[in-house]
Subunit: 288 residues, 2 copies
């Protein structure tokens, strides 16, 4: 666990992992875009707990960003990330350049058609196609027995689970609880974009989820009524612009009007220039 190895080439990563598999070792994998926070570390710790060998990828994947999104300014700090990964016992960081991942002539995409339609799929066209494509590539490169994702990106996790099942990928997908700051804000690499006033307004995301949980616990099953209350709370804070607040079937991610089965409330809100997301399965304890 003492020697953290950094691998940049696809072929080297692939043969490293093939050797490990042939030796009967279990590989667990945490795909990330870097700029680690406690949420990322909790995924790595889970991987460490359950496998012989832990691989973390750091790759800000261009195909999941829209042309007007924050690809170029997405925060990056490899040395800090490497030290943090080392501190939780990661064995290998896979850190490929774009030329390795999308060489000239690249033209293949994996598309999960239905669970990616709603929510962020509406506001970020092509985003999930980029996510599932890069995860398919990374799974083929790292050949893991399990891969660990955070539940903060609920729809991403749903899309990846669907892809893995549909394409018969032989690995287990593990979803871990959303990691939150002491005041409840969901941890995100994008939180560094927030100034002090925006940071305060950003608390209305988790605040509206808490309120929804309370209404649900009191018996409210009308999704529109819950959403109205959440809207009221969020718009009352300065610098906020709601992208969406929705209550969806937890499996299909289709909108529900009357909550019957398992449902998730998911929201995306711009606070200043920073787009934040959060979610909570209604009836579950709010993750912290």
């Amino acid at each position: 666990m003492d020697n953290l190895q950094v691998i940049e080439s696809v072929k080297a990563m692939q043969s490293h992992c093939e050797r490990l598999r042939l030796a009967g070792k279990k590989i667990s994998f945490v795909p990330t875009m870097g700029y680690f926070h406690e949420g990322h570390l909790s995924l790595m710790k889970e991987a460490r707990r359950t496998a012989d060998h832990v691989v973390v990828s750091i790759y800000v994947n261009p195909t999941q960003f829209g042309p007007k999104e924050d690809f170029s300014k997405y925060p990056r700090d490899f040395d800090r990330d490497a030290a943090m990964a080392k501190s939780v016992g990661v064995d290998v960081i896979f850190f490929p350049p774009n030329s390795e991942m999308y060489p000239e002539g690249y033209q293949t995409y994996v598309n999960v058609e239905k669970v990616t339609q709603n929510l962020c799929g509406l506001s970020r066209p092509g985003h999930f196609r980029g996510v599932t494509t890069v995860c398919c590539k990374l799974f083929n490169i790292v050949k893991p027995h399990s891969a660990v994702f955070g539940r903060k990106d609920y729809q991403q996790l749903a899309a990846i689970r669907r892809m893995v099942a549909d394409l018969n990928m032989d690995l287990e997908i593990v979803g871990m609880p959303t990691f939150r700051e002491p005041d409840g804000l969901a941890m995100s690499s994008r939180n560094v974009y927030l100034n002090k006033e925006e940071r305060a307004s950003a608390l209305t995301l988790v605040g509206s989820l808490k309120m929804a949980q309370k209404l649900y616990a009191e018996g409210e099953r009308n999704a529109v009524k819950i959403i109205r209350q959440a809207e009221k709370l969020i718009t009352s804070a300065p610098f906020t612009a709601i992208d969406y607040i929705k209550i969806c079937d937890a499996a299909t991610l289709e909108d529900v009007l009357e909550i019957k089965g398992e449902a998730v409330m998911a929201l995306a809100v711009k606070v200043g220039k920073t787009r934040l997301i959060d979610n909570s399965v209604l009836g579950d304890k709010l993750e912290a």
Copy 2:
């Protein structure tokens, strides 16, 4: 080699192959839609020659047929196929039902965007998406070190090579020469649809490829002129209707007007109700 095993479940196939890989065995795979002819057997023999364990899949894949195509009447004869596979030393036939391959809620597709545009991509929208999707699934199920395809389906082979490279699938794709009847007709499971007169007209496909090779050998580099001659030959035969005759860059499959680099002449012709394809790389000896 004496015991041919038939496996119908995805999970059973996957754990069978994972066990073999862990034991250090090399797996070679031939994906087919069944109704074998000598062309299929040549692929299986190549697989047998190069690997410890040979898996053949027989699966008439619904997602690669258009709504008006011959999915339901595509010829099937499992017992005959199994006997033929056994005769060339195949170890396992993977023979899944549709419910295993596309269970309810299925929604994930792999799309190779560029090399699938031209040729059959124009006349069979969605066809290659079905082919690459099912091959991606089959590769994840069989976990082969190599997979063997015929070059008769030139564009299919190009799409699969592209998918494998782009998605970093760790296996080798082997392309084998087109197998032909003694009179030159490319072997195809669909040849059984042809009556005696149509069978005679079908020879104009290979005839036009031979003529193109002759013109090319004599120095002709104008693609349009070669195509015109081929059209003349094919339309002179009864029951023929040309879908396309094209000369394309052998790698990108884009049309070429003036032949400079490696080019392939590819054609699709309906003979009676049966759609046949054939191709030849210009300058190569016609495969037989």
